[in-house]
Amino acid sequence: MNTRECDLAIIGGGPAGLAAAIKAWNLGIKSIILLDESEILGGVLPQCIHTGFGIHYFREDLTGPEFAARLIEMLKNTGVEVLCGTYVEHLSIESGGLKRIYGYRYGEALKMDSKAVIYAAGCRERSRFEAGILGDRPAGVYTAGEAQTLMDIYGILPGSEVVIIGSGDVGLIMARRFALEGADVKAVVEIMPYPGGLTRNIVQCLEDFGIQLYLSHGVTEIRGKNRVEAVRLAMVDEKRNPIKGTEFEIKCDTVILAVGLKPRSEILARAGAYIDEATGGPIVNDWLETSIPGVFAAGNVLVVNDLVDYAAEQGEWAAESAHKFLREGGLPRVDFKRVILGRNVRLIVPQLVSCLQDTTFYGRVLKPEENVLLRFEEADCSFRLPIVRPSEMFRFRIPSEKLSRIHGDKLTVNIIGA
């Protein structure tokens, strides 16, 4: 087994990994290897043929393939070595802090030593079993991403009468995607009392196509012997339990599951990185460095983003940090302040702050509220927000002057009435 060597290994060639690779090269790191599981770069972007990508990052409204193509074009002008079709099995930390990566690709058992790693492996979709959807287990049940791959990578139509479970953006986009191919999208079902996706998608994907949205409804059962024949729905109470007597059935041949995404952080966890239960991704400091020095995380493995622009931004951020790490032989070891999830805050990234630099925070709320203040208490810094929703990430940049005001060991983030 030959050992490959590099200064920076980037695992994952989606938007975060690509942006990281380009940025790292431009900052002057000249020995970079980018590994990607798929045969084509871009992560999930090539199958996202709708628009809505790049409004912040490229200041243009692009489709997924266009967004990916731009990054791939930029990558071609660098000397980054790309290894597609590479499965990473294992990441371990050797003496002297060297990162060793084991993996496989066509004809090669890969062993690679790197001084720094940016981990950008993205997220995965939750299955019907994780979502606890009962009933039969027939064919015709797909995750949204699976259906999207079939339609927009392979040109296959999964079915003709569709019920979509989950009204997050992925579910909404797929509702429209099926409608555009002439399928009868019979319903989008959401267990929460409010939609899970962006307002623009509710309008453009459901209302414009006359697709019915059932809020506060859950799937009690999938029925079907060989292929899906029907789903049974019921209204749910505040605890998400079905209410007796409200059950009804919708005939369909296809069920699309858009029931949440989970960071694929298992390899990081096995390597020893601490995982945040709120995000499902690694705990990072304001260099996006995990608890393993020199291992950084970016994109949906760090936190499930709702805009690709954020994933790319995190990729660049991680690249800057990796550059600093390599140049200075490590990052400052300071007493990081812990970020505390306060009132109506479900998650926040980064979870640790040095207060030495301007820092961007990404977060999500637990429940929708109007006319609120987002407060970074110990930094005495607040932002007025007309509305917050669980589906819409908030992103704020706090200057270092404000962060340096923090005296204790924590920074509490609260959402309070304005």
Partner: protein
């Protein structure tokens, strides 16, 4: 040499495959193994707990066949798993007692086990339980320790048996459904099927949930098969704590109860529930809230701790064929020469299967009053598909150099390579589930959502079928309905 005896075995499940294997040892038989599904082992055999029981459960007075064949089957599985390279863990089982009432049942089980000639049985106290299984509930006061129990994966066994059968000359006929039995002059002549007539001198009825219906086709039977549903939950392989032994509660008259065990793949599994269904519900395999809640609560009592519910990656349900009377039905009939039942294979059917096969052979022997001639070239061995994930790094490195397609990992969770999938197809997989049960692809956390299409691409390429026509488990379960514009075209015409 005299004309070979045609035997048609109905059902390529664990029992049918075991019978076919035993018959394939002799020159006297020509064996057809019939299966209505597109692949083997997809009925009762696919969804059960996969335990090779020690044999103390079955009362010899009430259920003589179960009592006898379970212990014999257990012994035979030692040999068969070795010959056929079937993964098995001889981990032993513990029946846990939590109060005096249950202590009494333990003693009954112990005595019954001794009568059934189960070896090495022992009643042990709390201390010893802890050393055998640290995760047992602290409330457990005593246990029946049966070190001869084992854990396998039932579909591994069916696949291994059928591959070995085919190697030894058995004709496997898939997608073949029996429609009628032809009888002339009180003798079996053959089977009417959806694929035409199949001649047979003997018909072995090992058709699982439908055995009574098949017997009725010959105007025989007089027993009914009722489906009993059992639901299960499986945890992520990395979810802790696991158990290293098979844990049972004390049994009730109808069931051995909800078991906590670790599968041969290293996933903690709990189940089954036991719900009697109506006779016409032989395809009812839905998961229910009540069933899964019952499994969870029952399993929780046996162990100190279960992993959190969020670590459940799959639930499923299987049906057990409960026969009238409760005992296995293994018999010939005076009315019709040539029909032999091997029916009602509820638990311990899997354990007993090899012994059932030998019993059927003996029925044939006594019926024909003949000694059969062993094949000289009979091959007892079969190797399973080499699993990349089970090799050492050095072995993997070498293998990838020899065959580059071992480097392409298709199922990420289970680290299943393209080459293993190709091998599964070469050995008879034609569907996603066929590949899944032969390689374990799709059995990880994502349950196939990220690799189904990659497997479909390989099947499509290898078997030269359009991608959208690749199915999950046969006709009616295709992954698509056509190309992405097919609905528009359909509407125009």
């Amino acid at each position: 040499m005299r004309r070979p005896i045609h035997v048609a075995v109905i059902g390529a499940g664990i029992v049918g495959a075991s019978i076919a294997r035993v018959l394939s040892m002799f020159e006297d038989f020509e064996v057809d193994l019939l299966e209505r599904e597109v692949d083997i082992g997809w009925g009762v055999s696919k969804a059960n707990t996969g335990i090779i029981h020690a044999g103390y459960d079955d009362e010899p007075e009430l259920y003589p066949l179960r009592a006898k064949l379970c212990v014999e089957g257990n012994k035979l599985w030692h040999k068969w798993t070795e010959e056929l390279d079937i993964p098995i863990r001889w981990c032993g089982s513990l029946v846990l007692a939590f109060n005096n009432e249950e202590m009494k049942i333990l003693k009954e089980l112990y005595n019954r086990g001794v009568r059934n000639k189960v070896k090495e049985l022992k009643i042990i106290g709390a201390e010893e339980i802890k050393t055998l299984e640290p995760n047992v509930s602290r409330e457990a006061e005593a246990a029946l320790w049966a070190p001869t129990a084992g854990q396998i994966s039932p579909w591994d066994a069916v696949i291994a048996l059928v591959e070995n059968c085919v190697m030894n000359g058995v004709r496997l006929r898939l997608s073949t459904e029996v429609r009628g039995i032809k009888i002339e002059g009180g003798c079996v002549r053959g089977l009417e099927t959806n694929r035409g007539f199949i001649e047979a001198d003997f018909i072995i009825n090992s058709s699982g949930l439908y055995a009574d219906k098949i017997a009725e086709m010959a105007g025989l039977g007089g027993y009914r098969i009722k489906p009993r549903r059992g639901e299960y939950l499986i945890f992520d392989r990395e979810a802790e704590p696991k158990v290293s032994r098979i844990l049972f509660p004390t049994p009730t008259p109808i069931s051995k109860g909800v078991v906590v065990t670790t599968t041969v793949d290293g996933n903690l599994m709990i189940g089954p529930s036991a719900q009697d269904l109506a006779e016409d519900q032989r395809e009812e395999r839905a998961n229910t809230r009540e069933g899964l809640d019952y499994v969870w609560e029952s399993a929780s009592k046996l162990v100190e701790k279960l992993p959190p519910k969020s670590r459940v990656i799959r639930f499923f349900a299987g049906l057990r064929p409960e026969p009238t009377g409760g005992d296995f039905i293994i018999r010939k009939y005076d009315e019709v020469f040539g029909l032999i039942d091997a029916a009602g294979m509820r638990s311990p059917g899997l354990t007993s299967a090899p012994a059932i096969a030998h019993m059927v052979l003996n029925i044939l022997k006594s019926t024909l009053d003949a000694d059969f001639k062993p094949k000289k070239c009979w091959n007892p061995y079969r190797r399973r598909i080499r699993r990349f994930s089970e090799l050492t790094p050095e072995e993997r490195s070498k293998l990838v150099k020899e065959e580059p397609r071992y480097g392409r990992i298709i199922c990420i969770d289970k680290m299943v390579t393209e080459m293993e999938i190709i091998e599964a197809i070469r050995r008879g997989a034609t569907t996603i589930d066929g590949v899944k049960f032969r390689t374990r692809a799709c059995m990880g956390i994502c349950q196939g959502s990220s690799c189904t299409h990659k497997i479909a691409l390989i099947i499509s390429r290898e078997l030269k079928i359009p991608l959208w026509k690749v199915s999950i488990r046969g006709p009616g379960t295709e992954i698509g309905i056509g190309d992405v514009k097919s609905l528009f075209r359909r509407r125009k015409t």
